[in-house]
């Protein structure tokens, strides 16, 4: 007699419970992965090994320096669309005093971090996952392990540190171009009447936002690189796992970055 099959999705409550517990287990697993990587790095005694320091430089160059033109272009586009439009709207409504505050908070603090993170996820997160996944498939990672090399220290920590530094620097760059560029272009269009907004922005900048901005961007960089490394190392034997894990790395990074952003906004 054929066995009765369990329904594929079960009850809605059961399905929701399984999904939530799955997410919980995933987040714990990812956190342990990151903590292990940093523990292995710290245990070596010196901040960076000569061999691993090169990996940090490479990551900063690929994630940070190489992404500058794209980030600059997108920041200018945001400056043109959002900053410029907000200034126009403020002028029409006659509430220019509040606009500086709004611009600093929305464009400077929120949009710059989020849009930079999205660029990094699409550009570097996917590249890290494909890179490590491919190396795992070809036995390159195991080859190094068999030479006594700690792959966490060699592959994971440099990528996390490089991505965190790059995310922070690029977000600052993005914010600067989006705000200054937007104000400058708006001034050109409206005969120099908006340049005083720059001074107002500097005055309305809340100093308590700065540590939060730094923390948030470093956290985004850590999330992006660690998720990519985590999924890259999950590629085992079949090449078909490579696109699957890369896709998961991208989607998970997006979800975690937005969740972290929301959480930090609520906490602050």
């Amino acid at each position: 007699m054929a066995e009765a099959r369990a329904p594929r999705f079960g009850s809605p409550a059961g399905w929701t419970g399984r999904r939530l517990s799955g997410i919980g287990v995933y987040v714990v697993d990812l956190t342990v992965f990151v903590l292990r990587a940093f523990r292995d790095w710290a245990r070596r005694g010196r901040v960076f090994n000569r061999a691993t320091l090169q990996n940090v430089y490479s990551q900063v160059i690929f994630t940070g320096v190489d992404a500058l033109p794209l980030v600059s272009f997108l920041a200018l586009a945001v400056g043109l669309s959002i900053t410029s439009q907000m200034l126009k709207l403020a002028r029409a409504l006659g509430s220019e005093s509040d606009v500086a505050d709004l611009l600093t908070n929305i464009v400077g603090s929120e949009l710059s971090s989020l849009l930079t993170a999205i660029i990094l996820i699409g550009r570097s997160g996917s590249a890290i996952a494909v890179d490590l996944g491919g190396m795992n498939l070809r036995g390159e990672v195991e080859g190094l392990e068999l030479l006594g090399i700690n792959v966490n220290e060699f592959f994971v920590t440099p990528r996390i540190i490089g991505a965190a530094i790059s995310q922070f620097v690029l977000a600052v760059w993005f914010a600067a171009i989006a705000l200054f560029g937007g104000v400058f272009i708006n001034s050109l269009i409206s005969s120099g009447t908006s340049l005083h907004q720059l001074k107002r922005m500097a005055e309305t900048l809340d100093p308590t936002l700065v540590p939060l901005f730094v923390l948030k961007n470093l956290l985004f960089g850590i999330i992006i690189a660690s998720t990519a490394c985590y999924h890259g190392f999950r590629v085992r034997r079949s090449p078909t796992e490579l696109p699957q894990q890369t896709q998961r790395a991208i989607v998970t990074s997006l979800v975690l970055v937005f969740a972290a952003d929301g959480l930090l906004a609520v906490v602050s």
């Binding site: 061999a51 691993t52 190396m135 070809r138 036995g139 190094l144 068999l146 030479l147 006594g148």
Partner: protein
């Protein structure tokens, strides 16, 4: 450890299969400095599984293996990493790090383990590449090198760590006869000039015939150890006869 002490001792060793079950047949083996040990047998006999267990790369399902005096099943992670410097293992296909060139592949492990200044490490790498008679370019990425060149670089990066034991899984994979001859000469020099013990899992019976001090025959139905080709080729065991007859056909 005294000079005469074996570098590797395996007693009733049974590696794990995929799926964690133990291999059926136990293997006992002793390896001394300068030995060339060949693991041979048909596909599915478990050459890679036994080689990995002997090298303490994978924990065995049963039995014991002592590598350079250390019980492989009791090694901490740090001790296992330290052992890897003295017991080198070259995987099948000799994979190198694809993002750096040949020379950096050779120097990287020594740089990572801080075995000298950059100049000293680079000089040692050049000496080793000369010793191995490396014919290729050092400034190319591994993807642009042939399999023989990749194998020599993989051996060189292991030698940078001054190992006493070297394990190689199918080193003659995808190389022509001329390259196989050169590789066989490299293994002979490793054992005779550098005093390494070399364990090789291979299908290259020509090499086994001329160079093996001991032959470990691994078959799904039988496992045995022979003192050289003469003893192996004279064996009456049906599985050995089948294997050798198939090879001659």
């Amino acid at each position: 450890m005294s000079a005469a002490a074996p570098l590797l001792q395996a007693v009733e060793l049974r590696p794990r299969r995929e799926g964690d079950a133990a291999m059926e047949h136990p293997l006992s083996l002793e390896v001394k400095a300068g030995d060339t040990i060949c693991l041979v047998g048909p596909n599915g006999g478990g050459k890679t599984a036994y080689l990995r267990a002997l090298a303490a790369v994978d924990r065995p399902a049963a039995g014991t293996v002592k590598v350079l005096g250390q019980d492989a099943s009791r090694l901490s992670t740090d001790a296992w990493r330290a052992l890897r410097l003295r017991a080198a293992y070259v995987l099948e296909g000799a994979p190198l790090l694809s993002v750096v060139n040949g020379l950096i592949n050779v120097t990287l492990p020594a740089m990572y383990h801080r075995l000298g200044t950059a100049t000293q490490v680079a000089a040692a790498a050049q000496d080793l590449l000369t010793f191995l008679d490396y014919p290729g370019r050092q400034d190319l990425l591994p993807a642009y090198l042939n399999q023989h060149e990749r194998l020599l670089l993989a051996i060189a990066r292991c030698l940078m760590l001054s190992p006493e034991l070297m394990f190689l899984d199918e080193p003659f994979h995808m190389t022509d006869n001329a390259c196989r001859e050169r590789e066989a000469e490299v293994f002979r020099r490793l054992t005779q000039e550098k005093g390494l013990a070399v364990l090789i899992a291979t299908h290259n019976l020509g090499f086994v015939r001329r160079h093996a001090d001991k032959i470990v025959f691994l078959h799904p139905q039988w496992v045995g150890c022979f003192e050289g080709w003469k003893a192996f080729s004279a064996a009456k065991q049906a599985e050995v006869r089948d294997f050798l007859d198939t090879d001659q056909r």
